[in-house]
Symmetry: C2
Subunit: 238 residues, 2 copies
């Protein structure tokens, strides 16, 4: 159910039993989405948003001529389109693996936020962290080499996914294709492929089949200038 969501919010602020209960009651009729399909599409002004219950997803914008930019990756517990509550969406959300989502209506959502300030605050923090991640990606695309950008992305994914149990000891069942990586970082897939090979040759990662293994965490971290502060993973303490 929404247990994952609650846990993910609790990273950003301790919740009471009542609040947890109210949150759980929010979730409506679930919807399953097959891997590769879009969960929500750009342009919609739905007055609702979606909670990812299971699976992994990514936000992207695909231009008319096929150029695509991926903006973020999401796991169970993430709200993937809060913007849809108030504004029309400027992006789509694709399912990286098979996903299950729960729609949350704006009315009920708002009711909750204004009634339980704790919860509202947690949500507020949640969205601030999201902004911080966007900015970190901007720094990467603007000022880091392809090698550093890829190393950085891998560090981020492993760190975030380790926190929710999707990765363990730098070992991560990796659902992205090289094209996903390329489209996340503003690279061509050919170049992405070559840089990944370099990362392998340098002994930083192993990446065969559909699994990613970080062989040298400190090295990968250094290569990507990765400093996890911006993820604010201990945000509840702040």
């Amino acid at each position: 159910m929404s247990g994952r969501f609650i846990a993910s919010l609790e990273v950003y602020g301790r919740l009471s039993a009542t609040e947890r209960e109210a949150l759980g009651a929010l979730v409506g009729a679930n919807r399953a989405v097959a891997a590769g399909k879009d969960i929500v599409c750009a342009g919609q002004a739905t007055s609702e948003c979606h909670l990812l219950l299971s699976g992994q997803a990514f936000r992207h914008r695909t231009l008319a001529d096929g150029r695509r930019q991926i903006m973020s990756y999401h796991v169970a517990g993430d709200l993937i389109d809060v913007q849809g509550l108030f504004l029309s969406l400027d992006y789509s959300v694709g399912a990286l693996t098979a996903c299950e989502v729960a729609p949350l209506s704006r009315a009920r959502f708002e009711d909750l936020v204004w009634r339980y300030p704790n919860l509202g605050r947690a949500l507020w923090r949640y969205s601030l962290v999201e902004g911080a991640i966007f900015r970190e990606w901007m720094v990467g695309m603007g000022r880091r080499t392809a090698y550093a950008r890829i190393a950085h992305l891998l560090c981020e994914l492993v760190t975030r996914f380790e926190a929710v149990g999707l990765a363990r000891n730098g070992r991560y069942r990796f659902p992205l294709t090289q094209t996903h990586i390329a489209d996340s970082l503003g690279l061509s897939n050919v170049h992405t492929n070559r840089v990944l090979q370099a990362l392998r040759e340098d002994g930083l990662i192993d990446y065969r089949g559909r699994e990613l293994v970080v062989l040298d965490w400190q090295g990968l971290r250094a290569a990507g200038e990765f400093d996890p502060d911006y993820l604010h993973m201990g945000a509840a303490a702040a």
Copy 2:
């Protein structure tokens, strides 16, 4: 005073007289910052944020070796570091022109948000739009050429600044240096210079002294693939 701020929030939701008054009372002792100085610095965990009362500012992150990434531009009425209310800052905010800022304490700020849902909602929308702008920049840096990126940035600045009276008829007293543009878009200043010349030669803009003039709005728009939807300038209606 904070009239500009109120006006800027009202774009995102109509406010009552009481709300407007409460907002006005928030503002504390103002602080003046000279052009070129930083208003707030990365790393601070201040439990307060700043409202820009006058002047223009930009968020940036400057790495140890001097590489700099600019993430957004701000005008009077903007909250430049809401993140500081809850989390440590991952960026600094520099004054583009002489600025005046008002610090807002977290306690009073929160009090307001929870007491006046209208106001909280406006603020919520405000931050959603900010996220949309970040994503638009990501698309640019990842998937657009230098020429398109620069055209797009100029379109955005003129559009946003026209809305607050800083630009008129595509004519804008331009406080950015070419290095600012370069650092916003992940380019070198040399290349930025050459592309600006191309934009001039193509008759899209004029850019001498410290003034920017858009000569061919449709052309510039097309060159930058600029579609102002993401700015949600009529957001209150949504």
